[in-house]
């Protein structure tokens, strides 16, 4: 264990935690046991904080550990993450203002409430809520795996045969996250997001300038990576990967990018970021600035090649059982002086902790509003709601721990992709429903169920990374390898499309749409928002 790096990690963790708690006391809550306080940070986030909250959803262990690990192992195919984080912005630009307006006009705070209100369907709201909760679990698991990889490189735990010692870093990561979220709610992670982003920008800029000079320039880095990717993987009998996406991989690349982009803002935590914006135009303005995060993601993805060009990293990954998740922490260990490695580790750990806390809080809010209030206790007091949400956030993390322990960690990116398969099935009920209510509510529910079942079975049947099930998230569809989420969405839409006329023909009752055309253009006002004069639909 490196004492300098370890000390810096612990100190920076303590400092940001104190900042979080101090800020809560500096702007004290009227009633800390109110769900608005614990779950929405007092609902007082303006443009600037919204930008950090929205962008923070992209800057997670996904960016720092999973994407470079994939690039390290298979090369160009891992770069789909950059395409994903580019294409997501024009897509969000199109639909997010409508979503924001409808939510503001009707007072929705979760996507499930929108689906329920749009179709007068408790069932559809429940489907959206359950999907959000389920899909967030593997995404949080990915954050735990990210923290675990840093702790492993630092020498906490180890490769012992004892299962408890082997999983010790993961268990420590889990406990820290659980205690942290339980006590602080959304306020602390939202404020720490600034520190987190500053640490990440610092680390990335230093790394992208300094490391190539130590490795003999980009020509050498790409050359070494290319040479490695061409060699044949003894396990599969094929090359490890390629420096440029091969024609056979183009469908997978494009569908992974598109599927991930369509899925991102269906996640509860990303939706919270949209709803937190103060005005309709804030979202569009933010979308034009948020690609700054995408650029960082692209640079971080290149860390995978830098790691490949560092012999000590390759040796370390091999010693860690071929766990490519270790490549970025190992790169920091071997390239940076130990004090700056400590800063880099802090960036990764805090960069995983903050989004994991925000994700589990958003999912807990979703449970409280759309399941507990809706079905169990409509007259819950605010204190009861907060207690339920806190417990729900713990359950979320236990579920996440289950995913992290059960699924293979060789490609942790697969955890995020698995969540994407599920969450994308709510797309018709949310985004398509922003524009039309042509679909029958029961057709949407059946379509959702079909997509969920198909996607889960396909993912279960896909081997990879040394395990028989849930090994990868791409599978052959009509002769092309494609992201299962997109195929499942197609199944979902076809079922909903075919059933809608049938359900209408047999006069199955459709629900009451409580939204009006003008709600979709509503902007924030001082008075009540739902009094617009025109109707657009």
């Amino acid at each position: 264990m490196n004492p300098v790096a370890f000390t810096i990690l612990v100190v920076s963790f303590l400092v940001v935690t104190m900042i979080g708690f101090a800020a809560a006391r500096w702007r004290p809550a009227e009633d800390p046991m109110h769900l608005n306080e614990w779950g929405l940070g007092g609902r007082g986030f303006g443009t600037f904080v919204s930008w950090f909250l929205l962008g923070g959803d992209l800057y997670t262990a996904y960016t720092f550990i999973a994407v470079p690990a994939l690039v390290y192992a298979v090369g160009a195919a891992g770069f789909y993450a950059l395409s994903y984080t580019i294409v997501v912005w024009p897509i969000v630009f199109i639909f997010a203002p409508r979503l924001w307006s409808a939510a503001r006009a009707r007072g929705y705070v979760t996507l499930a409430e929108f689906a329920r209100g749009r179709y007068g369907s408790q069932g559809l709201g429940l489907a959206v809520a359950l999907t959000g909760i389920l899909a967030t679990m593997p995404y949080i698991a990915l954050q735990l795996v990210g923290i675990e990889s840093v702790l492993t490189v630092m020498g906490v735990g180890g490769t012992s045969g004892n299962a408890f010692v082997r999983d010790l870093p993961l268990i420590i990561a889990f406990i820290v996250l659980a205690v942290y979220t339980y006590l602080a709610g959304l306020r602390a992670p939202a404020l720490i997001a600034f520190v987190k982003d500053a640490l990440i920008y610092l680390t990335v800029i230093v790394a992208i300038i300094y490391i190539p000079t130590r490795l003999g320039g980009w020509g050498h880095i790409f050359g070494t990576a290319s040479a490695h990717l061409k060699t044949v993987n003894p396990a599969t009998g094929k090359p490890f990967g390629s420096l440029i996406v091969a024609p056979s991989g183009e469908w997978a690349y494009a569908t992974l990018a598109l599927g991930s982009a369509l899925a991102l803002f269906m996640y509860p935590h990303a939706a919270t970021g949209v709803f937190a914006a103060r005005k309709r135009n804030v979202i569009r303005r933010n979308v034009a600035m948020l690609p700054a995060y995408s650029l960082m993601l692209g640079l971080i993805a290149l860390f995978g090649y830098m790691a490949r060009a560092t012999p000590a990293v390759n040796a370390g990954v091999k010693a860690g059982g071929g766990n490519s998740q270790l490549s970025v922490p190992l790169l920091f260990e071997h390239m940076f002086p130990s004090w700056f490695a400590g800063i880099g580790y802090s960036a990764i750990v805090i960069g995983a902790l903050v989004p994991a806390a925000i994700m589990s809080i958003a999912a807990a809010n979703l449970f409280t509003r759309s399941i507990y209030n809706e079905f169990f206790n409509p007259d819950a007091t605010p204190a009861q709601e907060t207690r339920v949400a806190r417990l729900a956030s713990l359950v979320m993390k236990v579920g996440a721990l289950g995913f992290a322990l059960e699924l293979n960690k060789t490609f942790s990116i697969n955890l995020q992709l698995l969540g994407g398969i599920w969450i994308l099935q709510t797309f018709p009920a949310i985004v398509i429903s922003l524009y039309t209510t042509w679909f029958h509510r029961f057709a949407l529910i059946t379509g959702w169920a079909s997509g969920m079942v198909y996607g889960t079975i396909e993912a279960y049947r896909t081997p990879g990374g040394g395990q028989a099930h849930f090994g990868a998230s791409t599978a052959p569809v009509f002769g092309h390898i494609a992201y299962i989420a997109i195929a499942a969405l197609a199944v979902n839409l076809v079922v909903a499309f075919v059933l809608t006329p049938i359900f209408r023909a047999i006069r199955l009752p459709n629900g009451y749409d409580e939204t009006r055309g003008a709600h979709y253009y509503a902007d924030s006002v001082d008075g009540p928002a739902a009094t617009a004069g025109t109707r657009g639909a």
Binding site: L82, V87, T534
Partner: protein, 87 residues
Amino acid sequence: MAHSAPAGKSPVKRVAITFLLLAAIGGTLSVPFYARSMPKLGDFPFFYWYQLILVPVVAIVCWLCSVLLRSKPTSDARSRHGGGLRK
């Protein structure tokens, strides 16, 4: 049917915005176009520098679209709200 842009926008603007956004999405997803190593920029193969340069390009496109949408808050719904006029 509702429109994605508020009522009252000129059709030219709406076409321009639609074109810009579709071009941004299409340019990102046309993998066969950029899955090549030549021409290189410095030591970077085309595949890498194209996508990295696409990031600021898409940011500018989104910014342009937001300016086009904001410049004329004509919709009566919005001006009656006042939200579109006050910054």
